[in-house]
């Protein structure tokens, strides 16, 4: 490993570092050409996205350097979503940002706890328009044509022969067993979303995006996060993700506008975090205030920049495209 103390050199080659700079320029030009305004928002905020499986890193704004752990709590942002939506509610046009995001506990071939995120919001865009914009950007970055679109249900039907919106936990468990994948002993039968995640990661993702990029859309309503729901009988979340060469690159929502619904989801997620033994996250936020005021209809997307560089350069691990990945940072 390159973690020898005294080894100061970057993990990424100069060739890759030049590629990063080129791709950043290309992305900025892409959004400038479409009239998006570049914005900057805080990395440290009193608010944080409330997600069952995203763990924001806490920081204190200490008053005295002798007591660095005392003082007001701030969160390193897991994405700039809350602050960018505050700008939208305050009258921003379509906006984009290239910034850092931080996610605790995420280290691996495709994860670095600190990473570069490209996030944008197209005002008045519905999900179809949001997917089109994402496809255009993917075409620009990877030059493998427009993104193919396939619904979450169609993908599960195609590679597993099941309806992910109808199957219950035990049914999904049987499918996992039939697929011969290693299953965590601790995954509860009733954790439907857990089984869907496992099947997605093991049996669906490995097929996505080998000819052209792929956008998966219409997620289960229970995985809506901050997306709005559509449909009455079997509601789906207007959420979509970009995949290329089996790797998840971007996540988008036709954004939820209803503050009451956000309040409910926040409470529900905090209850689940509590059962997971994780710290609760602040439910009241300036985002709620912004949504009370009124968020314009919009579609927002966050793209992992480092993973995109990885795929453009042909690297196998994120650590090959980051100058100083976590272990040598």
């Amino acid at each position: 490993m390159a973690a020898e103390s005294g080894d100061f050199r970057p993990a990424a080659s100069w060739e890759v570092l030049h590629l990063r700079a080129r791709l950043l320029r290309r992305i900025r030009r892409f959004f400038e050409d479409r009239g998006f305004l570049e914005v900057e928002t805080p990395l440290l905020s009193a608010d944080t996205v409330i997600d069952r499986y995203l763990d924001p890193i806490p920081v204190t704004l200490f008053a005295a350097p002798q007591q660095m752990t005392e003082g007001p709590r701030r969160w390193l942002q897991t994405s700039p979503e809350f602050a960018m939506k505050r700008l939208l509610a305050a009258g921003a046009p379509s906006i984009y940002q290239i910034t850092r995001a931080f996610r605790g506990g995420e280290v691996g071939r495709l994860h670095n706890p600190e990473f570069t995120i490209v996030e944008w919001y197209g005002v008045e865009d519905d999900m179809r328009q949001g997917m089109q914009l994402l496809s255009d950007l993917a075409e620009l970055l990877f030059q493998q044509g427009a993104a193919e679109r396939i619904s979450y249900a169609a993908a599960f039907e195609r590679w597993l022969g099941i309806d992910p919106h109808a199957a219950d936990g035990p049914k999904l468990a049987v499918v996992a067993e039939r697929q011969g994948i290693a299953v965590p002993d601790s995954l509860p039968m009733e954790d439907r979303d857990g089984w869907l995640d496992l099947l997605l990661v093991e049996c669906v993702e490995p097929h996505l995006g080998f000819e052209s990029p792929v956008i998966l859309y219409d997620y289960p309503a229970t995985q809506a996060a901050l997306a709005r729901l559509r449909g009455d009988r079997t509601p789906v979340a207007e959420r979509f993700e970009l995949y290329f060469r089996g790797i998840e690159l971007a996540n988008g929502y036709h954004e939820l506008m209803d503050p009451e619904e956000l309040r409910c989801r926040n409470q529900q997620i905090n209850r689940l975090r509590h059962t997971d033994g994780k710290p609760l996250l602040p439910e009241s936020s300036r985002l709620l205030a912004a949504m009370e005021h009124g968020l314009p209809p919009c579609t927002g997307v966050a793209l992992g920049f480092d993973r995109s560089v990885m795929l453009v350069s042909g690297a196998k691990e994120l650590s090959e495209v980051i100058a100083f990945p976590s272990e040598i940072a």
Binding site: D51, R52, Y53, L54, G105, E106, V107, G108, R109, L110, H111, I181, A182, V183, P184, S186, L187, D193, G194, L196, D197, L198, L200, V201, E205, Q223, A225, E241, E248, N251, D276, G277
Partner: protein, 202 residues
């Protein structure tokens, strides 16, 4: 593989590792047997639970196991320790070693020693893995020098290395060597592959 970075866990009493501690090289216990984590792949859907796909090697039997854990799971740590020992002698089916630091003696059966007997000379330094204080794996040095005790004479002037023959070395083992090796030569052998490396002296 079981070098400095791994041994720092050796003296730790049995505890648990959380998924956030999972990484290659970790020694854990499953159903009472010690395993080495030889691969660890963190996979996580952007908005879903994290999964830790692990390949684990059973340190007693050498078999591999694929297991997936989810965020929040834990594994018991294995009380595995690596020590430097000296090979003392063989007594029938048992090989006797001494801990260089504590002078404590440990015995391994020929089954446990497996092919390593071929390289053991009295007084040789080896490394030994203990599980709950009992020896489980012996690793001789990567390269050992052994004296040739018997072999058929090689063809005169034949220095080609692609013509080979078996030779019997001082430990009683048979090693495949180039045909120019003669009795009394000392040869270097790679203990990981069992292969002849070079002639050290004639």
């Amino acid at each position: 593989m079981f070098s400095a970075s791994a041994t720092k866990w050796g003296n730790q009493s049995v505890g648990t590792y959380k998924t956030s501690d999972f990484r290659k090289g970790l020694k854990v216990q499953i159903d009472g047997e010690p395993y080495l984590m030889i691969e660890m792949n963190f996979v996580k859907p952007g908005k879903g639970n994290a999964f830790y796909k692990c390949k684990l090697k059973n340190l007693l039997r050498g078999t591999a196991l694929d297991r997936t854990y989810k965020g929040g799971d834990s594994l018991e740590s294995a009380d595995v320790e690596e020590i430097d020992v000296q090979y003392l002698y063989r007594q029938q089916d048992m090989f006797v070693f001494m801990d260089n630091k504590t002078y404590e003696q440990y015995e391994l059966s020929s089954d446990q020693i497996d092919d390593s007997w071929k390289y053991l000379k009295e007084g040789m330094g080896c490394s030994m893995m203990l599980f709950n204080g009992n020896p489980i794996i012996l690793s001789p040095p990567n390269h050992v020098e052994l004296k040739v005790e018997y072999c058929e004479p090689g063809a005169k002037g034949d220095t080609a290395t692609n013509v080979t023959k078996p030779v019997k070395v001082e430990t009683g083992a048979e090693i495949i060597c180039p045909s120019f090796i003669n009795m009394g030569n000392v040869i270097k052998v790679d203990t990981r592959t069992g292969q002849y490396v070079e002639r050290v002296s004639t």
